[in-house]
């Protein structure tokens, strides 16, 4: 009877902890990133160089959230690579060289480091390259973050959508929603957990009210409704998500219980 009682108390304790974990922390600790699939379509003729390249890709894929899979098809005239996410074609590449920085890039490494350091999120401002559009939105973002009680646990990064070195990252961000590629407007992505990007705020949607709602979403208690219907999309990243630093947001909420919310 005593063991049974102890089990019930233990289960209740775990359950109560699960319900008070904040969205950002829960995603970082529990939500394993979705896997991409990189397929190499070929017609069966392999040179030694291609074998070596595939071997390299296979090794790199082991540390990233991607599976590498060569597939032989008779009707393939020229071999090519295709990247899929949730069975949706993301991009095609005709040459091995164009896969450089596909699995990782400098900015993605910086963002992953911030998340592993226990930051609430990284807000990534994707610029259009048109100063009149970008500067106005940037001012709103900076002002809203600096007025937030969570300003110290939010990192703001900028990225130009024409940045060549980060072209794969930009491409993945623009796949978060089906119409983003056609919209030439500044966008603000909330990146949290194990590199999950929320559907962005864009153009006039980059407002203090909406930015604060993004912060509220990430600092709220993680509910089963969110766990059952994960928002956003995983970004391809070569990161080990083991042993992250404790979430910094918890200290702010412990010191200011008035900020606690659902």
């Amino acid at each position: 009877m005593k063991i049974r009682g102890f089990r019930i108390v233990w289960f209740a304790a775990i359950l109560s902890m699960a319900c008070t974990t904040k969205v950002s922390e829960w995603f970082l600790l529990n939500a394993v990133p979705d896997k991409y699939i990189l397929v190499y379509y070929h017609n069966g003729q392999h040179t030694d160089k291609v074998k070596w390249q595939n071997n390299e890709l296979d090794n790199e894929a082991k540390v990233a959230n991607v599976l590498f899979q060569p597939i032989q098809k008779e009707d393939v005239k020229e071999p090519y690579y295709a990247l899929y996410y949730n069975n949706r074609l993301q991009a095609e590449y005709s040459r091995y060289d164009s896969l450089r920085t596909l699995f990782s890039s400098p900015l993605r490494r910086e963002i992953a480091d911030e998340l592993m350091d226990g930051k609430l999120c990284v807000m990534l401002f994707l610029k259009t390259g048109i100063p009149e559009k970008d500067e106005r939105r940037m001012e709103i973002i900076q002002h809203t973050i600096s007025s937030s009680p969570f300003r110290d646990v939010i990192t703001l990064k900028e990225l130009d959508r024409n940045n060549w070195e980060e072209k794969h990252f930009v491409s993945m961000l623009l796949q978060v929603e089906s119409d983003l590629k056609e919209i030439q407007e500044p966008m603000l992505f909330g990146i949290f957990g194990q590199f999950r990007a929320l559907e962005p705020l864009l153009a006039n949607g980059i407002s203090p009210e909406n930015i604060n709602l993004m912060i509220d979403f990430l600092t709220a208690d993680c509910s089963c409704l969110i766990k059952d219907n994960l928002p956003g999309m995983s970004i391809l990243s070569e990161t080990s998500w083991e042993n992250p630093e404790p979430a910094m947001v918890n200290k702010i909420l412990d010191d200011n219980p008035a900020l606690l919310h659902h």
Binding site: L198, E199, L202, G205, L213, F217, L225, N229, P231, G232
Partner: protein, 74 residues
């Protein structure tokens, strides 16, 4: 996003992300069940049943004392 397939005519009419509208409208958290007002008959039942018990007790005692008195007279 679960709302991106909805057609829209201009950028202004483009729907906001679902996570944002749910957070704004308080739908990201299970809503506590709203208590419904039920008709309360308990007071009536208590009064009627108490009255009934009193009357039955009175009747029983009356019958008992009458029966006892008659027996004494005999």
């Amino acid at each position: 996003m679960k709302q991106d397939t909805i057609g829209y005519d201009s950028l202004e009419a483009r729907p906001l992300p679902k996570w944002l509208t749910d957070q704004r409208d308080g739908l990201n958290y299970y809503q506590p069940e709203m208590p419904k007002m039920m008709e309360d008959h308990s007071l009536n039942i208590a009064v009627v049943s108490t009255g009934a018990i009193i009357i039955i007790t009175l009747l029983l005692f009356t019958a008992y004392f009458i029966w006892k008195k008659r027996k004494k007279i005999k």
